[in-house]
Symmetry: C2
Subunit: 354 residues, 2 copies
């Protein structure tokens, strides 16, 4: 039975990518060796790394002066690396608190120095994006989260910061056009729109590094990884390879601008139904609704059993909401076809008719 995969992450990847990755596990590059049993310093893998980096630069139009890294440890390790690399000894940072992951980032920054929260939506269970806050002039950097997977909120605009601009884009990078030059450091766990779990993308402006006076442990220092081309130690070969394939798929699709259009159509289709259908209501503030993660509730809990049965029987997977919001969450990442969204909408209509 065909599955419609609405998982929040790790999430759906393009079928063509899965097919090619599966083949590479058996025989990569026609060398009669598996991708995962060759040296990471062999030419075939060095070519993969080069191509992955080139695709990131091309798809996001990364300007000169930025380095692209593939690291390990997920966004969670970046929460620590960011203050280590950017917060001066005795310095200060400003963060927005827009969800569970933003909060974890704040915790790590606080462990290294003075950290102020300048925008905070925890008062309403993070169902909106704070706006109109002021970023102090005396901070070393400003940190925000572009999309909050759990709560289904997304920053539609980014503030102009009087300091370095850092953004966790784990759950919406490559889903919409961004102006990289407006940011000094972008990071993202791969496992949404880029690839499988196991690698973290970092895009960093070289000139901002090495200026804190802080002693940085080798593995936490971005300059370690820049100087070794993400090969200071053995990189996560498979995760980088599948990311490369997924970025190539995105390029063949027409790039970020083309996928942004499709993503908008998918989100519009589902949000329209949520707003139209009296059996459903969205949980996020309308103007802050995420195009990646659509969170909604049933207005009539007596329909729950029937609704769950209907979508499960249709081959829909991963629709359960996060425990801290409840209800349902439909994640509409790049690789999810319009058809899957249409099937979900049809079920919502059928439920209303019953």
């Amino acid at each position: 039975m065909k599955k419609h995969n609405f998982s929040a992450g790790p999430c759906i990847l393009p079928k063509e990518v899965l097919k090619e990755a599966s083949q590479a596990i058996l025989n990569f590059n026609n060398d009669n060796l598996s991708l995962i049993e060759i040296s990471h310093r062999s030419k075939p893998f060095m070519d993969v790394m080069k191509k992955a980096i080139a695709l990131v630069k091309e798809l996001l139009e990364v300007p000169e002066g930025y380095s692209v890294l593939f690291l390990q440890g997920g966004a969670s390790l970046e929460f620590l690396m960011v203050p280590f690399n950017l917060m001066k000894e005795g310095g200060k940072a400003a963060y927005t608190n827009t969800g569970a992951w933003a909060k974890k980032a704040i915790t790590e920054a606080k462990s290294l120095g003075d950290t102020v929260v300048v925008g905070d939506s925890s008062d309403k269970n993070y169902n909106y994006i704070p706006k109109g806050y002021e970023i102090p002039n005396d901070v070393d950097y400003f940190h925000c989260t572009s999309n909050n997977t759990i709560y289904g909120t997304q920053m539609k605009n980014f503030p102009t910061a009087p300091t370095l601009m850092v953004c966790d884009m784990s759950s919406d990078i490559f889903s919409r056009t961004i102006e990289v030059s407006k940011f000094d450091l972008i990071y993202a766990g791969a496992q949404k729109n880029m690839g499988p779990a196991g690698t973290t993308l970092v895009i960093v402006k070289d000139e901002i590094l090495g200026k804190t006076g802080r002693k940085i442990p080798t593995m936490l220092n971005y300059n370690t990884h820049i100087s070794k081309g993400s090969m200071f130690n053995t990189p996560p070969v498979f995760a980088i390879y599948v990311s490369m394939l997924t970025l190539q798929w995105l390029k063949d699709f027409g790039g970020v601008e083309a996928i942004e259009k499709t993503n908008q159509e998918k989100a519009d289709l589902l949000y329209s139904e949520i707003d139209r259908n009296p059996l459903f209501e969205g949980t996020a503030n309308k103007e802050d609704r995420s195009n990646m993660n659509v969170c909604f509730l049933l207005t009539d809990s007596s329909k729950e059993e029937m609704f769950n049965k209907m979508w499960q029987e249709a081959g829909i997977n991963g629709l359960k909401g996060h425990r801290s919001v409840g209800g349902y969450r439909a994640s509409l990442y790049n690789a999810l076809p319009n058809e899957s969204v249409q099937i979900l909408v049809n079920i919502m209509r059928k439920l209303e008719q019953n």
Copy 2:
């Protein structure tokens, strides 16, 4: 053409494992979803994690009171996590310096506190294992490297330490029986005998943690990962799955004792030829020779071109020595069949006869 894969790591994995991993990328658990597009908190993946941990415990006979973790960042991140978790504020540690990776471990420890080197083979380009050194009574822990991939040396015995015993077993774990109870912390990058690059195994005695008085960043704290069963953040799903398959393969093979016997036979076969054949000489001290990485040189450099042609034509891969030792390195990891070693030995004999 069939390949004989002597790569030093990432390295050969069992054919059955590659086949099953390739299939799981297309359709895992007969759910019509890929292993890499499902939630890490779904039952099918939780079962993988549980089974991987259980297999580690079973194969190494891990006693009660130890936790088994699958982390990210390779041994290189462990170089930092070990002193963060075990070195007291103002404390001290003792390390052996037996190669490039041991040296990197020492550098990270030094960045956190007083670090003494108690055994050092750098005077002879690390071609032997230091012995007879004394480990001071006043250190917080002792750290050693069980096998040195680059130089082909291996600790045949471990000293009795008057302190916590920490060992980097990246390149020989699961290749020979060890008594886990004699160690307090063992760590190993997966990409030799356990699986693909992208995850790090840690086996740690619970009671040694939380005693340094040091503030440990969340992601670097072993207790973070113990309390969340290696799921504090998204784990490297694919690398853990393939590790689980490889450990299951090892169990089916007969376990660590059975593979140790085979590994000994493979090493004996190759070292005998190196010692017998006047065209070759080993680089490591005989009593410290590694059963995993066999490093050797041609005694007559005029034969180099012919030898290289012969092994390349036989489908042998990954035989080039590390640049810091030169010559050749044949890595004989668990999944390498005896047949491959025999083919290499036959070529060495043919070269002599020519």
